[in-house]
């Protein structure tokens, strides 16, 4: 284990982003460091006018871990600064998974350590199932999308009292997700506002909401694929070292769900660990970055040995 400083350093900035063509989709990503490659996939999905995730949400992990690993954070198709899907019927999780796998292939990376949060936890699990040759280990962080239990996130997130595309709205959403609202920093909100400001982002909302791609494609296809994915996990198709990281106080994905996910995977997969953080909501990697980074570094090192 290289001796790393796991704590984020105040004021440290992400390197300049890079861009790569992934099967016709211009994809933005951040890439730094050397060593075992860790690829981060954030949560959320295209088409939200209240909040917007993008690759810099991993800033508190990306920078400290870049001292010991090659760290890569990319924007998913239709989110952040990556192109939108071309066709309305590609506004699906399947499309996000295909793009994520194609991105890893395009960078010609050796098998990577995938870290996925929330919907990204589902996406990374699906990449590990569909493209195991691309994956060395899997870290699933607070993923209601993967949990077989009901996730009450809509209760927390519905009917924002603030106008769409506003900083106040995004802050209200992310504070609702968090144990301590103070973790929602201005830097984080700046990143959300950068995403909102792009014309292409408003197009994705137009497609998902007004043109009905969410109701017609995204939601029903995710529901079908989730059934398939949970079945695959129960069959033992996930065959990589896996750790699950959860926040005890996440109002949107209940801790019971992480035990269910652990059971499905652990039944077939020896190297499976579960880790629950106290005083932690949905964004454990931003709420307790130093603890998250230490855990991830030890896990990746063990999975690489």
């Amino acid at each position: 284990m290289p001796s790393l400083n796991f704590a984020p350093v105040a004021g440290q900035k992400l390197p300049a982003p890079k861009h790569i063509d992934v099967k016709g989709i211009n994809t933005r990503y951040y890439d730094a460091g050397e060593g075992e490659p860790i690829v981060f996939m954030y949560g959320g999905n295209f088409g939200s006018s209240d909040s917007a995730s993008s690759a810099p949400v991993w800033s508190l992990n990306f920078l400290p871990l870049s001292a010991g690993f090659r760290v890569i954070a990319f924007d998913k198709i239709g989110q952040g600064f990556t192109d939108n899907p071309v066709r309305n019927e590609d506004y699906t999780m399947a499309s996000v998974v295909r793009h994520g796998a194609a991105f890893i292939e395009a960078l010609k990376l050796p098998p990577v350590h995938l870290v996925g949060h929330s919907r990204g936890g589902y996406g990374c699990t699906r990449i590990a199932l569909d493209y195991p040759h691309l994956v060395k280990s899997l870290t699933i962080v607070s993923s209601g999308t993967l949990s077989p239990r009901v996730s009450p996130n809509e209760v927390v997130l519905s009917a924002s009292p603030y106008p769409p595309y506003s900083r106040e709205s995004a802050r209200w959403i992310y504070e609702g997700y968090s144990y301590d609202p103070k973790v929602v920093t201005e830097e984080w909100m700046d990143n959300v506002m950068d995403v909102f400001a792009q014309p292409k982002y408003k197009v994705s909302v137009q497609k998902m909401v007004e043109e009905g791609a969410g109701a017609r494609y995204f939601i029903p296809e995710l529901a079908k694929e989730k059934r398939e994915t949970l079945g695959w996990l129960r069959e033992g198709r996930l065959q990589r070292p896996t750790q699950i990281v959860w926040g005890q106080n996440d109002p949107t994905v209940l801790p019971e769900g992480c035990f269910d996910i652990f059971d499905m995977i652990a039944a077939h997969n020896r190297r499976t660990t579960l880790n629950i953080f106290n005083h932690t909501g949905h964004f454990s990697y931003r709420e307790h970055p130093e603890r998250f980074n230490a855990l991830l570094a030890h896990f990746v090192q063990n999975a690489s040995a």
Binding site: M1, N5, F6, A7, Q248, F259, F262, A266, N269, R270, R271, T272, T273, L274, N275, I276, F277, N278, H279, H288, E290, R291, A294, L295, A297, H298, F299, Q301, N302, A305
Partner: protein, 300 residues
């Protein structure tokens, strides 16, 4: 890495310790489990096996034999009681000039750590409770039938091997080294003294004072809670330390201590540190690293 056995004297009693790791760094105190003289395994510092070098990779590790276990004198029968053992552990730390340690306790050792974290928080950097059936609340639980039909004679090679098999998910870790060490410990004077002391029915019913101290533990956790960063490391297949009980204890501790963590290790019974040593070290060392770097919230 080699572990070095040595003996110290604490309050007139000989204490056996096993040391490994570098001279510098925040020390780790390993406290083994088992109810000396009752458990069908003769526990002691020999139980840690492969976990010792993994934990000692970055910091000095001291594994102690509790009174009446391994090669540590029992002294008086009183020394079987948990409150007395906790006082004794502080004496061991004093004798070793350890002001403050990361305490890692398995089974009864985890219970001892919990009481030390409450009663002597200034002496602990952190607390790790490993698969402890006696630390969580009991409720009206079912009787523990794990060792219902232990083969006689107790503490023979066959009987201790059987007990290891009952408590383990995988059998691969039950090697000659650990079984031999347990048989030797069982035949040692400290263990024989513990067995003899527990012939006294009154003492036996006190069950090491575990229940008597429990009320004070809950009162403290209801009150100010713990100031020591803590983690619970439970296993997928432990017949005694049920994971829901561990998770309940986590929730109780977590109410007042921000830096509280719950972990599950797969394909392990009571001995995750032997059965899955690398995954055990991955979880535990990342916590110790975080505490040492003063990165864990709630650190005092």
């Amino acid at each position: 890495m080699t572990a070095t056995k040595s003996f110290i004297t604490v309050a007139g009693r000989t204490v056996s310790i096993l040391r490994a790791g570098p001279d510098s760094g925040e020390p780790v105190l390993l406290v083994h489990g088992g109810r000396a003289g009752v458990s069908p395994i003769a526990y002691g510092s020999h139980i840690w096996g492969p976990a010792l070098p993994l934990l000692a990779a970055g910091r000095p590790v001291v594994a102690v034999d509790l009174p009446g276990a391994g090669e540590s004198d029992l002294g008086s029968p009183d020394m079987l009681m948990v409150d007395k053992v906790c006082q004794h552990l502080l004496g061991v730390m004093d004798a070793l000039s350890i002001g403050k340690a990361h305490l890692i306790g398995h089974d009864l050792g985890g219970y001892l750590g919990l009481w030390l974290a409450i009663s002597a928080p200034a002496r602990l950097h952190s607390l790790s409770i490993l698969a402890s059936p006696m630390a969580p609340p009991k409720g009206d639980g079912l009787d523990d039938i794990t060792f219902l039909a232990a083969p006689k004679p107790l503490w023979s090679r066959a009987s201790q091997t059987w007990a290891f098999e009952r408590l383990s998910y995988g059998q691969g870790h039950i090697d000659d080294a650990v079984v031999d060490a347990c048989v030797e410990a069982a035949q040692g004077r400290p263990h024989l003294d513990a067995v003899a002391a527990l012939q006294d029915e009154q003492l036996r019913f006190r069950d090491f004072g575990i229940s008597a101290l429990k009320g004070k533990i809950w009162a403290a956790l209801r009150g100010d809670g713990m100031s020591v960063p803590s983690q619970l490391v439970w296993s997928s297949h432990d017949p005694q330390a049920a994971r829901d009980a561990g998770y309940v204890l986590f929730q109780i501790m977590a109410k007042k201590q921000k830096a509280t963590y719950f972990h599950l290790i797969n394909r392990a019974g009571s001995f995750a540190f032997r059965e899955q040593p690398k995954e055990f070290a991955q979880v535990v060392v990342s916590f110790l690293d975080s505490v040492d770097a003063k990165l864990v919230a709630g650190h005092t």
